[in-house]
């Protein structure tokens, strides 16, 4: 294995940083008070952590085999695109099911339409509107 010491240090730092971000995100999800707070941990910290870890993996195989590979960057790009979409859908589901939030939470989602928070039933498309 022919790795430069500097490259090895960078890979080790990225690995440990990625593991720490993943652990902090999961700790936030296990510890925080209500669903809307818990949504923050995995969707931000864990995504950054897995990005760091896959970049470290790409640098390692670049260093040992001599040519870069796009596969890890592909996984990272896919996760960075899909994580906000699934977070948005999860937040919408939480609002629709009217999950409880903590007392200290200020403000309310005024811009939502009534059917998005479950005010009135949404007409099924097969049976026509209204």
């Amino acid at each position: 294995m022919t790795l430069y010491p500097l490259l090895e240090g960078v890979i080790a730092f990225l690995l440990v940083a990625g593991g720490a971000f993943i652990f902090i995100g999961s700790l936030g999800m296990a510890h925080l008070g209500d669903f809307y707070m818990r949504l923050h941990g995995p969707t931000k910290a864990t995504t950054l952590g897995i990005g760091c870890m896959l970049v470290a993996s790409m640098l390692y195989f670049w260093g040992t085999e001599g040519k870069p590979d796009i596969q890890e960057m592909l996984i990272t790009l896919f996760l960075f695109i899909t994580a906000p979409v699934s977070a948005h859908l999860l937040a919408k589901t939480g609002l629709h099911l009217r999950l409880k939030h903590m007392e200290k939470t200020e403000g309310s989602p005024v811009e939502l339409r009534p059917e998005e928070v479950g005010e009135k039933p949404v007409p099924h498309p097969d049976r026509g509107h209204g």
Partner: protein
């Protein structure tokens, strides 16, 4: 140095998976459990990347890509089911 970093990261990711299982077990509502499952998908991708680093092979990255796609699609499908009561309308 790389081995110490690898095993530290392995311990952190396994601890994160244990916390996800904890939230998946006690999660009071359905979206909590769904969020825990989505995070478990991402953490298992990290575990597969670490396995590839440990065994010095790149065979397992295709499975990581598959897990990423199927995890996103299943999260969206269950979200649609909880939102509308139907997946494909």
């Amino acid at each position: 140095m790389l081995e110490i970093a690898l095993f530290t990261t392995l311990a952190l990711v396994i601890g994160a998976l244990a916390l996800n299982v904890y939230r998946l077990t006690i999660g009071p509502d359905m979206p909590d459990r769904l969020l825990a499952l989505d995070t478990m998908y991402i953490n298992s991708i990290a575990l597969i990347g670490l396995l590839g680093l440990w065994l010095n092979t790149k065979t397992y990255f295709e499975s990581a890509l598959l897990i990423a796609m199927l995890g996103f699609i299943s999260t969206v499908a269950v979200c649609k089911y909880l939102l509308r009561g139907d997946i494909i309308e």
